[in-house]
């Protein structure tokens, strides 16, 4: 499952990324494999989304979240 499928309040653990280039950016921002993520909320129009990861809040577009594989 990927991160964009979660609903607000749901959590998951990052396992892998499907896009190498994007994974560098995401990891630099603290989204590392093994890290717990929680979906905080979606923007009023449903995209982008805000997640809690590595002790801070990050927002990203749904298609960017979809490269993050979680369990």
């Amino acid at each position: 499952m990927n991160l964009s499928h979660l609903k607000p309040g749901e959590r998951g653990t990052i396992v892998a990324f499907t896009d190498l280039e994007m994974s560098v950016k995401l990891m630099e921002m603290g989204c590392l494999p093994g890290e717990m993520v929680e979906v905080e909320r979606f923007a009023p129009l449903g995209d982008p989304m805000a997640i809690r990861v590595a002790g801070y809040q990050l927002c990203l577009r749904k298609d960017e979240a979809s490269v993050i594989i979680i369990t």
């Binding site: 190498l20 630099e28 603290g30 909320r41 009023p44 982008p48 002790g55 801070y56 809040q57 577009r61």
Partner: protein, 696 residues
């Protein structure tokens, strides 16, 4: 100074350097360079460069690429003797990723641990001595917000040894050992990480362009895969940092800090209320720009009028005085008049940014704006353009993606600015009857609102078209930190107001003054024989008819001079072109002078229509324009068709040299201001042509 975004790096920079700073350019690219001077000890002064905020040395935008360029190239004029890494103590691990990369470049470094007070409040305890021992450098806990630890930081900078003392962050040899060794012999360095970075980024470094082929050969021979290695490096560094931080950080209350911020978010980004609150805040800001700025603007206008008239009274009459007062001083006035709006707009922007609300606005608006080729970050510049495009284009700098930023800059001047208002009100009062629809809505106000709506729709449509034309050089991300809500730092707000106003006056000002002088020359000079004839004609009239008021005579004379000036001749020259739009040569002159500033339309009309003897000379401009007849057809000139066509022309045409100047400054090339001026003028011409031909 190097650090992540949102770490308070700029605040610290301002604290260290005070007003003793200047903004220049990094050679060749469109990134501002902020340099300041800081007294470390009574006899030591440091030159401080504030590098753009970034999460790593691998750049994702043009702004970020400057960081490695400056740190890597020893020949770079900005290459530092030492680096201060600013880290946010409330999120230390992520912040130390950049530190560990920077440290491995083997330049002496000091770590400034910012927001330590905030971290303590949140239950995060950092053992600074242990951290310092483990990293092998001086670590200074500070709080730029409450101004603590600065003295210690200055002392640490003064104490720095010329040889780097830091421990290595991660072993790079395991990643690409063979390639690293070859690069080390190629460029003559003993630094593994520097060699690895060169493999990744040598094509962005001017000093290594001559060795491009050698680098490429090494990369091919060792199957060097940039993205894969970046990912591996990031993981290795985080692993190393985790072991370092394991007994340095004690976190007792992780979740606590988000409670308040989450509650605020639940309201401000609420599905239903979010947009209403945003609209309300916008309305407030927009209203402030209009109403608060009007007092200082009136004052500035009066002061410059006073300066001009007093100057004319006391200085010896002549060409030099006229040039100084009507050219330079008038041009200066045209610049200074924008300062209140710029200062107020940037005060609000900096408050909204500082509190963290701006990040939420971009979060909410991104989906809508993306459909039109813009991004969530374009919202603020677009709204600000309702007041004035000049500060708004400057504020577009917060847009990271190059393509989104260029499109925002390109369409911002289409949004109806306050300078169009006097033109609209004059023309509307001429062509729209004072009637009400449904008994209470004024038809004139409705027309005015329609003009604003047309402008916003036009901006969106053009943005949509440009989305397909402009090719992006870099991938656009919307991965962004949503900072915790905080109180604004008022000192920062004042600082931003000062800095933006100063930049505008100094940079855009040069161009504006130059064009003002050219316009003044065009409007005051003409072929000498014609001017002599006018002089003698009015001298004779003055002798014959002393009953006529001298002031009226002077006005008629200057109007006739304007007609025969080079500007007037230009007006006659362009008449065939603007005829199909319903304009005569007089409007042509106004179009030319309006290039200085749109509101010049009203003034030019005032001067030029004083020549028509038909109207009572005491009447207002509006009355004069109403009875003005077309010299060729003998019919009233300002019909509904002409008026509407003229309004559309002012809505779309690029008639603002301040904007041209600021677009040049922001894009650092003439390409974009030229494209913008051309497309807007073509759009204005076509719109006016269609409107006039249909309505006439």
């Amino acid at each position: 100074m190097v650090g992540n975004p949102n770490t308070g790096k700029s605040t610290l920079f301002n604290l260290l350097t005070g007003l003793n700073q200047k903004i220049g350019n990094f050679p060749g690219i469109t990134v501002d360079k902020k340099v300041g001077y800081c007294k470390l000890t009574p006899d030591q002064q440091a030159e401080v460069t504030d590098l753009p905020g970034t999460y790593s040395l691998y750049p994702k935008s043009k702004d970020e690429s400057i960081v490695f360029q400056v740190l890597a190239d020893k020949g770079n004029a900005n290459h530092p003797d030492m680096i201060v890494v600013v880290a946010d103590a409330t999120n230390l691990r992520r912040n130390l990723l950049l530190y560990s990369q920077v440290a491995d470049l083997n330049i002496p470094v000091v770590l400034a641990l910012n927001m330590t007070d905030m971290a303590k409040k949140e239950g995060i305890n950092i053992n600074v001595d242990k951290l310092s021992a483990k990293l092998g450098i001086q670590v200074v806990p500070i709080s730029a917000r409450s101004n603590t630890g600065l003295k210690e930081l200055k002392q640490a900078i003064a104490n720095i040894t010329p040889i780097a003392t830091q421990e290595k962050g991660a072993d790079m040899k395991v990643l690409a050992g063979g390639a690293i060794e070859e690069v080390k012999t190629l460029v003559g360095t003993d630094n593994d990480y520097y060699a690895l970075q060169l493999l990744h980024q040598h094509e962005h470094l001017e000093c290594y362009t001559s060795q491009y082929e050698e680098f490429e050969t090494i990369e091919r021979n060792h199957h060097f895969e940039s993205s894969k290695l970046q990912a591996a490096e990031t993981i290795a560094r985080y692993k190393h940092l985790s072991t370092i931080l394991s007994d340095v950080i004690e976190d007792t209350g992780t979740a606590k800090k988000f409670v308040i911020s989450d509650r605020i978010d639940a309201i401000l980004t609420n599905r239903f209320w979010g947009f209403f609150i945003f609209l309300f805040i916008l309305l407030f800001v927009f209203n402030a720009i209009f109403s608060w700025a009007s007092y200082p603007m009136d004052l500035i206008e009066e002061s410059f009028a006073w300066l001009t008239s007093t100057g004319h009274e006391h200085l010896p009459p002549g060409v030099l005085t006229d040039l100084l007062l009507d050219g330079v001083v008038a041009g200066l006035g045209g610049i200074v008049i924008f300062i209140p709006q710029i200062a107020i707009l940037f005060a609000f922007i900096s408050i909204l940014e500082d509190t963290g609300y701006m990040a939420r606005v971009t979060f909410m608006m991104d989906k809508i704006m993306r459909k039109f080729g813009l991004s969530g970050r374009s919202v603020v510049p677009m709204i600000g353009s309702l007041a004035c495009a000049v500060p708004s284009i400057m504020s577009a700098r917060t847009i990271e993606s190059w393509k989104d930023r260029i499109i925002t800059i390109m369409v911002a001047p289409l949004v109806s600015c306050s300078a169009r208002l006097p033109v609209y009100t004059l023309l509307i009062s001429l062509i729209i009857p004072e009637e009400n629809v449904f008994g209470f809505i004024s038809l004139q106000a409705l027309t005015l609102m329609a003009m604003y709506l047309i402008s916003i729709v036009a901006a969106m449509v053009v943005a949509f078209v440009m989305k397909f034309i402009i090719k992006a050089k870099e991938k656009s991300y919307f991965i962004m930190e949503l900072p915790v809500y905080r109180m604004p730092r008022w000192k920062n707000v004042l600082f931003t107001m000062y800095e933006k106003s100063k930049t505008f006056v100094l940079e855009a000002g040069k161009v504006i003054i130059a064009i003002s002088i050219v316009l003044w020359v065009l409007a005051s000079y003409g072929p000498s024989e014609k001017f002599k004839a006018i002089d003698s004609k009015y001298a004779q009239i003055e002798l014959k008819q002393d009953s006529l008021q001298v002031s009226t005579l002077e006005r008629d004379k200057s109007a006739e001079k304007l007609e025969n000036s080079y500007a007037g001749i230009l007006g006659h020259t362009i008449e065939p072109v603007i005829r199909p739009l319903g304009f005569d040569w007089k409007i042509g002159i106004a179009l030319i002078t309006s290039f200085a500033a749109r509101e010049a339309f009203v003034g030019t009309m005032a001067t030029i229509y004083s020549v028509d003897g038909v109207a009572d000379n005491e009447g207002t401009i509006r009355d004069k324009m109403r009875v003005a007849v077309d010299a060729k057809t003998g019919l009233p000139l300002f019909t509904f068709a002409t008026g509407f066509s003229l309004m559309l022309f002012y809505a779309f045409a690029m008639q603002c040299m301040s904007t041209v100047a600021v677009v040049y400054r922001e894009t650092k090339t003439w390409k974009w201001p030229v494209i913008q001026t051309v497309y807007m003028t073509v759009m204005a011409y076509v719109a006016s042509l269609i409107a006039y031909q249909i309505l006439k």
